[in-house]
Amino acid sequence: MLEVRDLRVHYSGIQALRGVSLDVRKGETVALIGPNGAGKSSLLNTISGLVAKDTGAITFEGQRIDGLAPWSVTKAGILQVPEGRQVFAEMTVLENLQVGETALAERAPTYGLEDVYKVFPILRERRDQRAGSLSGGQQQMLVIGRALMGGPRLLLLDEPSLGLAPVIIAQVFEALAELKAQGLTILLVEQNAHLALTSSDRAYVIEQGKIVKSDESRSLATDPEVTALYLGQD
């Protein structure tokens, strides 16, 4: 469904991706783990069209999408939930969700308002509240819900657990499991490797802009190097 081939990206002076290749197949949840600064967000942002690539190719459902503007990438059905819960703070919860529909363009919705409320019931309760007044966990649920309103064929999640309490993380990941069970394809970026490996089918390990390992998540979870580097502290 998504094929990333030998992608290279740099910012002024910094080489962020040094030839990354990665695949996501329909219905899969694929995790991308790695330390801070490894290039995880850069990869998602390049897929989303926010960052320009140097070389390489990104193909989505047979179509080249590298070089497309961010709003065109979303219209193709790739929706990113960015790092750091970027709600539209001054707008209500309901309005945030409605803005998500913009990404549909001419596609039919896959998740309506009611479906989103079913996944995250708290959003229904808070629908007329300012998004900026929600708790961190509720904001994370809102940005996921907002992306669902855009009818994602592929959902990109950038560190959804960041800065949330364990109870809230569990709730968010339960919802993600539910979405996966409904058939949604997900590319999940996480620093929390334990969480990522237990909630995905396959995983890639990225370090300094290079994929250094990839396997079934189950196997990676018992891989001595991975456990030493990423699961030790958990």
Binding site: S48, L50, A69, P70, W71, T74, K75, L79, Q80, P82, Q86, V87, F88, A89, E90, M91, E95, Q98, V99, G100, E101, T102, A103, L104, A105, V143, R146, A147, G150
Partner: protein, 296 residues
Amino acid sequence: MLAQQLLNGLVVSGVYALFSLGFTLVFGIQRILNLAHGAIFMTGAMVAYYTVSAGGPLWLGFVLAILASGILSVIVELVCFRRLRKTGDEEFGGIISSIGAGLVITTIAQQVSSTQILRFPFETFPVVIYRFWGLRVSMLQLFMAGAAIVLVLVLGYFIYRTSFGRRVRAVTDNEHASMLMGINPNMIYAQTYFVAGALAGAAGVLVGLAFNSISFVMGEPYLMFAFAIIILGGLGSIPGALLASLVFGMVQTLTIAYLPSGLTDTIIFAALFLILLVRPNGILGKDDAGSLRGRR
């Protein structure tokens, strides 16, 4: 008498609101001060004048003024701001380039009008005075108040009740996230500049009619007041700009009526400083609104 002055103040406030709402809208969405806004306002008045003096009806002058000012405003965004935004220089660079655009527009208007003060032909707007409850109201005043109220309501409806308005507010709130939701901010910017320019153009025609005096420099004092109004209202806040327009229009009218002439601006700006002492971010301003640095 007070009631009469309050009524006059309301009309003045309406014009200020039309002018400063566009200025605020643009600031709110881009954190940019469009200093060509006064020239765009003046262009509206000029277009209406030349339409009428060429024999066209006033309503046509109004429509053409709104279109011309709206389009001119979009051109200013394309020429002055869009390229600077790509390099991230829009805050200070944009101030300079929009001053430049304002000068270009003003100079062209000066050439076209031969540095003359232009006046609409007699009775372009019927001179009718209504009297009730001891008040004198001209039809023009009623029209000005009516037009201001209708335009403000229409703007409010679009911004707060339509999907277009939601997209504008989303871009205002977080441009990065808005792109990830399928919004093309450049489209939103162009549309916002059009609306801002159209409102200014409408205000220009109303002011031109009210004073029956149109000149290439007529935008300058309004730009100055718009500055004060958006600071007072809270940078980027639409309700704040409305409220501040009301305060300014009233204070100005009342000081002109009851105090020695020449004190008006002194009092208005002294009041501005006093209010800012108590509310540094303006009446309805948010904590971050005073900062010219983007919040993203």
